[in-house]
């Protein structure tokens, strides 16, 4: 590929400065991958606190048995909206933000392949979340049938109010946004790589995002189709999910989870990619088993399409279906295990240091493994009959999302923010943030395993008194975890505004440039990077071991 220009000389109105435009319009009309990455990350951070506030409402209501603060319908709105906001507003956009910043830097590209579409993906996301948020202020309140939007529950007038069509169109917009983002990532990785970088030279973060992008394109239209049928069943007299007309509500569950299972991997695969980027740097060793990491990621992505009905073991599947989905689900533990052992082997005999990004990454390896093990427990169909729809499920998926995806997003912030801004964050406050988070997140979610095994149902505003103690402990953990995230907000703002005042080096972390290209660029990063692609790419990260 030839050199890259950021502007053309065919129009007289072009000004030839290389910096960003001034004022608000810069952010609205930007096509720069770093600007768009920043927009995604700040939006995701804001939504993390919005979704977190909803979680605080949930934990406050569950602090004691009985109805305290909110009415049950609003409580159900909170569980529904907390999930939708965290999944579609916080975690997914945060990873797209990281992709925007990091993929062009890591592969030696001047920008994303389709910069205008990149801008549109972001604003479609904002539009979708605005539509969803608007339902909070509507007659009947926000959707309260759960984020899965199961019929006939969400089609009944009493649970719907005016929110349903807004929620459905929000899903459409979020889907368009995700698909455009994914297409952009695929085109960028295939078409914009530095000429000397082969596919198997790519940093693992780039690999995991490439595979995630395929997952997004393959499943977001599935979700769009499912909610479109909800819309027509509700407003246009169709019978897709109506048994009297020959339809079947279970069909919705099949379609939803055909989307939903890959969707949870869309949130975890980039997590794996970031962890595989950070751990080698602080272990001062190449990533152990690079090729097996790539293949494990691909295997997990493939398996995600053929295990969906393990979310539906109690729906009345034929026995053959229960058996198939049970065994297929268990197989996922194999490639996931490959990854966990590879991270461990990367740290083995490494010259490790424990800066904040590394602390979060190590916590991720340990706590994600716990979430994985409870997943294995639930994959056993007869056992799942006990766990289904209890707090055990809630504990399981929060372990895979909070101390896994969210911790790794924090780690990514601490890891790359110095590179992006040129300022060092305050290590003491960072470590304080880590230790409060890692303790409180376990106080928050670990007792939920016990509650679930004892039979406490999920999505319920009140509960029997025998569940009171663990709920109170869980709530206390939740409040501490929630408040301690303000430390992260403080650190992000402080670092952007100058941090410790210490000027960081180009590498930031010792020998980081051996691992990935972005550390060979100046800190802070100039507005345009790699206008001519690098000729040499680091290969340290692809060496299997010493």
């Amino acid at each position: 590929m030839s050199a890259v220009v950021d502007e053309h000389d065919h129009h007289a109105d072009d000004h030839h400065d290389h910096g960003p435009a001034k004022g608000l319009l810069r952010w609205i009309t930007t096509t720069n991958h770093k600007d768009i990455g920043t927009l995604y990350l700040l939006f995701a951070l804001a939504m993390f606190f919005v979704g977190g506030a909803m979680a605080m409402v949930i934990r406050a209501e569950l602090f004691e048995p009985g109805l305290q603060f909110v009415d049950p319908a609003f409580f159900n709105s909170m569980t529904t909206m907390h999930a939708l906001v965290m999944v579609f507003g916080a975690v997914m956009p945060a990873f797209v933000g990281l992709a925007n910043w990091q993929i062009p830097l890591m592969i030696g590209a001047a920008d994303m392949a389709l910069p205008r579409m990149n801008n549109m993906s972001f604003w479609m996301l904002v539009a979708g979340v605005l539509l969803l948020a608007s339902t909070l202020f509507m007659e009947g309140g926000a959707p309260n049938g759960g984020w899965t939007l199961y019929p006939p529950l969400v089609l009944q007038p009493i649970t719907v109010g005016k929110a349903l069509p807004f929620a459905i169109f929000s899903v459409h917009l979020l889907g368009i946004s995700s698909i455009m983002g994914a297409i952009n990532i695929i085109a960028t990785i295939f078409n914009m790589r530095a000429p000397s970088m082969k596919l198997m030279d790519m940093p693992l973060f780039v690999w995991t995002w490439l595979i995630t992008a395929f997952l997004l394109i393959a499943v977001m239209p599935v979700f769009a189709g499912a909610v479109t049928m909800l819309l027509t069943d509700k407003f246009f007299h169709t019978s897709f999910f109506n048994a009297a007309g020959g339809g079947d509500p279970v069909l919705y569950e099949h379609i939803f989870w055909f989307f939903g299972h890959p969707e949870v991997y869309i949130m975890i695969l980039p997590t794996f990619g970031v962890a595989s980027t950070i751990i080698p740097v602080f272990a001062r060793k190449p990533l152990f088993g690079y090729a097996s990491m790539v293949w494990a990621t691909g295997s997990i992505a493939f398996l995600s399409f053929i295990v969906w009905a393990h979310h539906m073991f109690t729906v009345g599947l034929p026995l053959a279906g229960e058996l198939y989905f049970m065994y297929a689900t268990m197989i996922i533990a194999v490639p996931t295990g490959v990854k966990v052992f590879n991270w461990t082997a990367t740290m083995w005999k490494g010259a490790m240091t424990f800066e904040t990004p590394m602390l979060f990454s190590i916590a991720f390896v340990v706590l994600f493994t716990m979430g994985g093990f409870t997943g294995l427990m639930m994959s056993i169909a007869p056992s799942d009959f006990q766990y289904h729809d209890t707090y055990f499920i809630v504990a399981h998926f929060h372990y895979t999302l909070v101390p896994a995806s969210v911790f790794i997003l924090m780690a990514a912030g601490y890891f790359w923010l110095p590179k992006w801004t040129g300022h060092m964050y305050n290590e003491k406050i960072g470590q304080l943030h880590f230790w409060i988070s890692v303790v409180s997140v376990n106080v928050l979610f670990f007792p939920q395993h016990f509650l679930g095994l004892a039979g406490m149902p999920r999505r319920i505003p009140d509960y029997a008194v025998q569940f009171a103690d663990w709920n109170m402990i869980s709530s206390v953990g939740g409040f501490i975890f929630g408040v301690s995230q303000l430390l992260f907000l403080y650190i992000v703002i402080d670092t952007i505004r100058g941090g410790t005042g210490e000027k960081v080096s180009d590498e930031v972390w010792e020998d980081a440039a051996k691992h990935s290209l972005e550390w060979t660029l100046p800190s802070p990063l100039p507005y345009h990077t790699w206008t001519t692609p690098p000729t040499v790419v680091p290969t340290e990260h692809v060496l299997d071991s010493h």
């Binding site: 030839s2 502007e7 085109a187 914009m192 109506n242 020959g246």
Partner: protein
Amino acid sequence: MSTNTAYYIPHKATWPVIGTAGLVTMLAGFANYLNGSSIGPALMVVGLLIFITMLVGWFTLQATESETGMYNHEVGISYRHGMMWFIFSEIVFFAVFFGTLWYTRNLSVPWLGGGATKELLWPAFDATWPTNGPGKVGGDFEPMGAWGLPFLNTLILLTSGVTCTWAHHGLLANNRDQLIKGLIATVALGFLFVSFQAFEYHEAYTEMGLTLGSGVYGSTFFMLTGFHGFHVCVGAIILSVVLFRSARGHFKPENHFAFEAAAWYWHFVDVVWLGLFIFVYLL
């Protein structure tokens, strides 16, 4: 014609945010309309107008940039990636509705008409296809046959695929006359298809008692053929734009991404129709 050797990265973009505003206004209007609010239709119209303005503006900009040689070979590859994966996402969207048809015919309807469900709930229900379910939702109806208009439409769409390829050959051989004639034929056949489908729908609603509300048969029939018909309209509009640009002398034998993208889309719509003809009409 490509004078730019470097990868073109636009400096700033105003159309994306305008298009997003149009789309979200349109959808908010539609949601308001469904909720029975009187401002709904007005919002929809405003949103649609903004959205159309964006389409015209953005595509004019792209065409101008392309014709002035600002896109090098690599930009073309990015665009091809974009179109290819967009069509893939559309294939998945249609697969959902084909999957729904398969599940309904092979699983949910037989389950309703067999075993304890039949004995205890619907003793009178005979699980055959087509059906509007044990509740006879939507009342008596006559299913749509395959060999009348649908078969004619199959021939029309297949022919349009041929004329589209013929136009492409004309473009590659720099035979502008063949290019334009081929495109005119393709667009005309596309709109003919849509007109016949409109006539078919009219028959269904007025003569056969077959509506979107005719149980699960009506639901799957109209959703599958309706989404396809919408895609034919979109494809024909895209081809019309390509025809308009061809008439103004755009495209070169070695550089005509917009034509290729439109042709890919048209063939995709064509293949989906073959699936519909077999699974919705024939079987």
